[in-house]
Symmetry: C2
Subunit: 320 residues, 2 copies
Amino acid sequence: MELAGLRCVVTGGAGFLGATLAAALAARGARVTAIDAMLPGTGANRANLDGVDATLIEADLATADLAPLLAGAGAIFHLAAHTSHMGSQADPRRDLAQNADATLRLILAARAAAPAAPVVHASTRQLYGRPRALPVAEDHPVDPPDANAVSKWAAEQYWMLEHKVNRRHVVALRLTNCYGPRLRIADARQTFLGLWIRRVLEGGTFAVWGGEQMRDLAFGEDVAQAFIAALDAPPGVYNLGGAPAVTLGELAAILVRANGGRGSFRVETFPEDRAKIDIGSYIADDRAFRAATGWSPSVALEEGLARTLAWFRPRLAAYV
Amino acid sequence: MELAGLRCVVTGGAGFLGATLAAALAARGARVTAIDAMLPGTGANRANLDGVDATLIEADLATADLAPLLAGAGAIFHLAAHTSHMGSQADPRRDLAQNADATLRLILAARAAAPAAPVVHASTRQLYGRPRALPVAEDHPVDPPDANAVSKWAAEQYWMLEHKVNRRHVVALRLTNCYGPRLRIADARQTFLGLWIRRVLEGGTFAVWGGEQMRDLAFGEDVAQAFIAALDAPPGVYNLGGAPAVTLGELAAILVRANGGRGSFRVETFPEDRAKIDIGSYIADDRAFRAATGWSPSVALEEGLARTLAWFRPRLAAYV
């Protein structure tokens, strides 16, 4: 799809992946509108859009009049979401409102204001729950381990109904754990890795829970390219993975190495409340998306971590 | 589970299945509280509880203070729901609020007021979408054909999380099409069969859309016994089917026969808006539930239809 001059709307556009995508779209000549509620505790950060040629509109999908914001959109990327697993268990109604109901509001506005715009929706591997076998393909049963997986699945399926019933071009990407510049690193709310990165940048020690779980981490800029490639993929739901999988213990060691050997970690037992909703190891089978688009990750794990650390080092004050 | 003297809460308790269950529980000596929002357009009808030894509390799960209503409950049966497929497509946010958010409100209240009460949740075969093969077992992929299937799946999964994370005894029954005394027959909002029944009772003609689709209809009193049996089933999600499957064309002929040959029907093409969300044929594989509980349907289809017609005949004014 030709992006030059195309009006692209990115919800969650001040967040980690949203702003990374906004930057990638702007670099391809798109006119980018980033919509973000700028809620505290989320990944939203104005610094994420520093130097990015995008218009930030502060608006909450749960309450704002959305149709005017979508008028003229040539593509819609829906990344705004409540992402905290523990938070969803503590307040599942808020999680449902932010993910499922807000997505419905966006869908209804898009029907009115941008009925032909293709949509790429950020879904999550969380909805598979604890994998029954690895790697996990799209036909793996959906088995939510927490309320967040329920609401995120509902949001994905509402979009897919827009394809099935209303023939809109919709692609949902079920993302693996992502990392990179602009990640929320203040705490572990967005991902454990955010806090790890903060700790090594501050010269401290971080905790690795368990350590044997495997993850196939995806670098943010690669993920952004996948969202763009998805505009030209056949409609449907696709897994999106990342680098070859490593254990969390291995990841911790690579992170310290990427930081020039500075930093240390200790392996701890999983806290009981998190163990209840932990999914164990995850590795995406994303061959369907790669075959449909030709996309593949371009940044290796250690390089991605080094680039992430280098990006944060001069900006740390804006992120902690 | 011993029901005599047990306080049982039935949400949607003035509806078709809720009131049928309330009657069955009361007949077993339970002290029954029926909670119902009595919303227009739903299956709620005060006449459904005529002669049933149950207390009806008019309360909307979306707004009422629920904990006091659940205090002392020995078992909770959650049947309240928005059930209209077309209605969910027209107003998916309302459907989500009534099904998923209201269920979360009930769950949170139950945590506070009745943390040990077992729960039986009314789920639906609708969430499987158009079956990939027949009969449909519980491991069939979930593939919502409409917004109602999304919200109903979310409600089911929120309850299952109460089992997985909080160890509550929860059984969800994915119901096939149900019919029987107390069915909403004013129109086709609850099921096409309701309107068919009204038409033959009034001596008119009814329309059969398509006619080749197969259904394994479950008789309400059998379904009520299944809800009671579910209290003693291992926690989990089970399909619940009914009588041996017939085509809608066959069903129409059986209905006219059950009415003593009075009544007629015509076969019509499926309306386009409904065809988009139609699931085709459905037959439940409910062997898991039968094996777990010993339950099986006791009322044959023609007998069930005859009993339904006989039940409605003197009560028609209260239902049309």
